[in-house]
């Protein structure tokens, strides 16, 4: 009996602490999110800024787009994040209605290792599809030379490098290739993991970057942010208007603008090979996925957060190498956010 008393006396400060912190948690809203790794650097900046402003604490786990969708469907997170929009089958698995909110844009760039070539190479969609199908063996191929008059191309063997891990980057890139090349569509298809006919696979952006940097003659696809921070040589691509365009934040935003006319109400659309003279052809949205209607302070916090990301948040995007949404689209998205219900 005596030892029991001593024991409870020992515990009492902890009990007090537990009740105190319990009441503190109740005061602040906490949101759990999971999904895409691509926007993670921006999201962590956004969420910490938003917490300073609103007091809402957001835990975001960058476990990958597929994982984010799975967690959202299981109901273990308050919001998901994905680089590719959810498919009809995935949406059918959800008991509640899910809304896609585009937050920023990213681009996939073709980075290569040709020390002899000093100017950015020009490539067309047909050539890129052929490169990644193993139909072009050497860099001084006549088709590449025809696009790059005045550039002396080496006879180095061409080595395509792809992402070995399932990724939204591969999804956007293969979506583009399937759109521009019927042959690629039927032989390889598009998706997060595809069966590449040729080349080497690197794990993650860093793996692909590593292989390209170490292998003369290699060409691979990585996220724009990654190519910029690693100072890699990247190719200009011929867009649907016939212009050669460098991947920049402006040309990526221009792609979203070009796709605005045909934008469906739920934003589930691919904007690869978009219209517009300035549009960079391998661009894509990244989305936050939320419930159309929900209860209480959590849903209100999500609504506030979304509103903030398409207005204030957009200003922080360029500094971190993410392309902001075009103004016209941002206002359209704001009205979609208004439609999110808080019960």
């Amino acid at each position: 009996m005596k030892s029991m008393n001593r024991f409870s006396l020992l515990l009492s400060p902890f009990v007090l602490l537990a009740t105190l912190s319990g009441s503190m948690v109740q005061a602040a809203v906490q949101l759990q999110g999971a999904g895409a790794t691509f926007p993670y650097p921006l999201y962590s900046k956004w969420f910490s800024e938003f917490q300073k402003k609103s007091g809402v604490e957001i835990n975001y786990q960058s476990i990958g787009s597929g994982g984010g969708i799975n967690q959202l469907l299981k109901g273990t997170v308050d919001f998901g994040a994905s680089d590719a929009p959810m498919t009809d089958q995935e949406l059918a698995k959800s008991p509640t209605k899910i809304v896609h909110i585009p937050t920023v844009l990213g681009a996939v760039v073709l980075a290569y290792n040709l020390p002899e070539v000093k100017v950015p190479l020009k490539l067309s969609s047909e050539i890129v599809a052929e490169l990644f199908s193993g139909k072009v063996q050497k860099w001084n191929d006549a088709k590449i030379a025809a696009l790059n008059p005045g550039v002396v191309l080496p006879s180095t063997a061409l080595l395509p490098v792809y992402r070995a891990d399932g990724s939204g980057t591969t999804a956007i890139f293969t979506d583009y290739l399937a759109k521009v090349s019927p042959e690629f569509k039927s032989s390889v298809g598009s998706g997060k993991s595809v069966k590449w006919p040729t080349g080497l696979g690197g794990k993650g952006n860093e793996g692909v970057t590593g292989v390209i940097k170490q292998t003369p003659g290699a060409i691979g696809y990585v996220e724009l942010v990654y190519a910029e921070s690693n100072k890699m040589a990247v190719a200009q691509l011929k867009n649907s208007a016939g212009q050669f365009v460098m991947p920049t934040l402006e040309s990526v935003t221009a792609a979203a603008l070009g796709a605005l006319k045909t934008m469906p109400a739920d934003y589930r659309v691919s904007i690869t090979n978009a219209e517009g003279k300035k549009a960079y052809p391998i661009s894509g949205f990244t989305y936050l996925l939320v419930q159309k209607s929900g209860k209480g302070p959590k849903q209100q916090a999500i609504k506030d957060l979304l509103k903030w990301t398409v207005t204030e948040g957009q200003k922080m995007a360029p500094a971190l190498s993410y392309a902001p949404l075009p103004q016209e689209l941002a206002s359209k998205i704001q009205s979609t956010i208004q439609g999110i219900q808080v019960e």
């Binding site: 787009s65 597929g66 399932g166 993991s193 069966k195 696979g201 794990k203 170490q214």
Partner: protein, 298 residues
């Protein structure tokens, strides 16, 4: 007496837990693999096409890549490890041996992602620019050394794995050698054996079954290694005779595709890869045990 009985029950329970975990693993893995195994049948193990887009799943190339990369690792690591362990126990004075075995064990503490990065930025370029061209010029008539030297590929994976299992193998081999009574060595020397003969007769011959055990443990580690391998192997599901060519292993595909897989059949096929890996390691373990026992009896 009562305490004795309780103690024995606790021991039994502890032993049972690991058995239970293994059984649970097998059942769970098999259960979640069923949809994919049913869809593909035996071609899941023999097929070499892996195309999640078309729902075609064949693990043949991954099984090949797993076995060849780990065997290549053993081929490199076993002689080095045994020689190192012999130096440590038979030749070097205790002080130097202590320092060297500490350094070898430090290798085991390096995270595998660091090995992987080192593989991408140091080892593969070295293989591509010097080792592979050398082999290619002289031995290109051997299919093992044919094709363009890419650096990244089966050879890189084998070498990285060899470095990673060397500390395990060395430490185990050293323990095996140390367990051999000094009396055996003295007996050999008393009969007029030279140092080399002593090592051969008294140490290596006695250590045979222990060494096999060490090799099997090292092999197990090489079979399941994921991160470092996927960074240097080139991740191509293909069966090629050339060590320069890219390949792929079971563990690497599993790690690469699991996070982003959403289709049910794809997820099930990935579970089936895990099940296959479990199966391959089990077969190797049991086979090795059987072999060692037979060797001992005869």
């Amino acid at each position: 007496m009562k305490a004795d009985r309780i103690f024995i029950q606790i021991l039994r329970a502890a032993a049972g837990v690991s058995l239970l975990i293994l059984a649970a693993f097998f059942i769970q893995m098999f259960w979640s693999s069923l949809p994919a195994l049913r869809a593909a049948g035996m071609s899941f193990f023999s097929g070499t096409d892996w195309d999640p887009n078309q729902d075609v799943f064949g693990a043949g190339a991954f099984i090949y890549g797993t076995l060849v990369s780990s065997l290549l690792a053993l081929l490199i690591a076993v002689p080095i490890s045994v020689a190192t362990a012999l130096c440590l126990t038979e030749i070097f004075p205790a002080k130097i041996a202590g320092v060297i075995s500490f350094l070898v064990e430090m290798l085991a503490a390096i995270p595998s992602v660091v090995f992987g990065l080192w593989g991408v930025f140091v080892l593969s370029p070295l293989l591509r620019s010097s080792v592979q061209p050398f082999l290619s010029e002289r031995f290109s008539w051997i299919p093992l050394f044919s094709g363009p030297p890419l650096g990244i590929g089966m050879m890189s994976a084998g070498v990285i794995l060899a470095i990673m299992i060397t500390p395990t193998l060395t430490a185990l081999a050293r323990e095996v050698f140390l367990s051999i009574p000094t009396l055996q060595r003295e007996a050999a020397q008393a009969l007029g054996a030279t140092r080399w003969e002593t090592i051969w007769i008294a140490v290596l011959k006695n250590a045979k079954s222990g060494l096999w055990g060490a090799i099997i443990l090292g092999w197990g580690r090489a079979l399941g290694e994921t991160m470092a391998v996927t960074m240097v192997i080139g991740n191509r599901p293909q069966i090629s005779a050339s060590l320069f060519a890219p390949a792929q292993t079971l563990a690497a595909v599993l790690a690469n595709e699991y996070a982003e897989a959403t289709s049910d059949l794809h997820l099930s096929a990935l579970s089936a890869l895990g099940f296959t890996l479990l199966l391959v390691s089990t077969i190797i373990h049991l086979g090795a045990k059987f072999w060692i026992r037979r060797g001992r009896e005869s």
